[in-house]
Symmetry: none
Subunit: 121 residues, 2 copies
DNA sequence: TCTGAAATGAAAATGATTTTCATTTCCATG
DNA sequence: CATGGAAATGAAAATCATTTTCATTTCAGA
């Protein structure tokens, strides 16, 4: 297992807390930082595991990494410009737990995303 | 420009109205239908343009195509054995719509999955 | 029958992501 | 100060969905 290279997190922060692995890599290259693409991917993956960043998907399928708070939440994402709003999901939590229990499932988790066109797009 | 091959739509319907291009292609292969992967992609793309199907992204980035208008449902998936239960998601629909409206979003869609360990696992 | 536009699909290209594996860096301990 | 092994690193190759290219086939209409 590998741990996150701190310069990757730092770069993601500087990028506005929202960028793809390729973008983080290119940014670090431009800044003259010596780092391999592999390490960028591994670091971001590790940050996701540690719940320090979230991963979403752009319309073209490229993964974008985004700094997030620690409280569990969901996202409302504009499918055109990518603007993201964090959503509290209390209703969903209960729904997921109830549905799962009804079917005898344990160790329940869930994912939920809302997408659409934001007011600007 | 090309038009959708009707067998592609028919196969997507038969797949439960929810499948990736690769899955549609494999299914048609297994059924002995002669068709190229390229045509499957083109047909699905065309169906998306015509708003006959929606396109979403799976967590791994693969695009999945879903018939529009079909009352859509969600899935409760066992993370050990893969058993899947289809769930009605009335509560989620409302939640997604309300949240999106609150933030001025239009053309709203959503994804939601619940996962856990089923009673057998 | 002829003709051209649309459809088709095999193969190559693309682009993100992952894997492999040899090398380098760290660091605790002798 | 060694030094030995674990963790980190990165270049290159592999993977995989998707798109593009391009030559061929189909088919409707003149």
């Amino acid at each position: 297992m590998s741990r996150s290279n701190p310069r990757v997190l730092s770069t993601l922060e500087r990028a506005g807390g929202f960028a793809s692995a390729q973008e983080v890599y290119r940014l670090m290259q431009r800044e003259g930082q010596k780092i391999g693409l592999t390490t960028v991917y591994r670091s971001l993956q590790s940050l996701v595991n540690d719940k320090i960043v979230d991963v979403l998907r752009r319309d073209d399928g490229e993964a974008i990494y985004r700094l997030c708070g620690e409280t569990h939440h969901h996202h409302l994402v504009c499918k055109s410009c990518g603007e993201t709003v964090e959503i509290e999901g209390g209703a969903i939590e209960k729904w997921a737990l109830n549905v799962a229990k009804d079917h005898g499932f344990r160790e329940v988790g869930h994912t939920a995303e809302i997408f659409g066109l934001c007011s600007k797009c």
